[in-house]
């Protein structure tokens, strides 16, 4: 398991180094994507008085697979 972790770490470090070699403009072109997120993208504006209220709204209204729900 430990060797798997260190392999993973080496792969990540290679990704970090490759990203660092690119100009910021290029990094941003690769990083920002656009896909439709159900419910979340269906209203032009939402606001919440508190972050707790926002988290509760995410938990209650968004599909689990989006990952906005609370981690167990």
């Amino acid at each position: 398991m430990a060797s798997g972790d260190s392999k993973q770490r080496r792969e990540w470090e290679a990704e970090f180094a490759a990203a660092a070699a690119r100009p910021l403009r290029t990094r941003m072109r690769y990083a920002f994507i656009r896909t439709y997120k159900p419910v979340l993208d269906d209203a032009p504006y939402r606001s919440f008085d508190t972050m707790a209220e926002y988290r509760q709204w995410c938990q209650k209204n968004l599909p689990d697979w989006l990952g906005y729900g609370s981690a167990v």
């Binding site: 990540w12 910021l24 939402r46 606001s47 508190t50 609370s70």
Partner: protein, 157 residues
């Protein structure tokens, strides 16, 4: 659906916010990406200081950028919500006025990093915020983000 966020739009935010004197920082995964973290995201997250003057400045800057804010929405931003999600403008933008895991805007500002003119939260604050929010998607990505923190600290000039 709004256009994909890009470098030019980040520059537009920086220019418009600077011209109105908005006190803000990029935060979240978009902030980490500005710091060099290789990953993908959809929207820009901005941590803005709470307060009426900053709220008015944000509204003016957002309207200039093309966000069609109604008077009631503008009033909410000025009054000070903790979280505002904008999906009606030229790009998707989340305004966070009280991110989990960060005490105050001034604390974050003291630690912030300038990346080619973009003010960005320190990676420690971005990570603290993600830990405190305790979302499933953040929990899953934290090990890689924490590994990036170590890399970033080693390679910072």
């Amino acid at each position: 659906m709004a256009a994909r966020f890009d470098y030019a739009q980040a520059e537009e935010i920086a220019r418009a916010f600077a011209s109105y004197g908005v006190r803000y920082l990029f935060i979240g995964k978009s902030g980490a990406i500005l710091l060099g973290y290789p990953d993908t995201t959809q929207d820009a997250d901005v941590f803005a200081a709470k307060g009426e003057a900053n709220g008015r400045a944000i509204v003016a800057a957002l309207r200039e950028l093309g966000f069609p804010l109604s008077d009631s929405q503008a009033a909410e931003i000025v009054r000070g919500k903790d979280f505002v999600q904008l999906r009606s403008g030229p790009f998707d933008l989340d305004l966070v006025f009280a991110p989990d895991g960060i005490e105050t805007f001034d604390d974050a500002w003291r630690r912030h990093v300038d990346v080619e003119g973009f003010p960005v939260c320190h990676l420690d604050d971005i990570i603290a915020s993600k830990i405190a929010s305790n979302r499933q998607k953040d929990r899953e990505s934290l090990p890689r983000l924490q590994a990036f923190r170590e890399y970033w600290l080693r390679h910072r000039e």
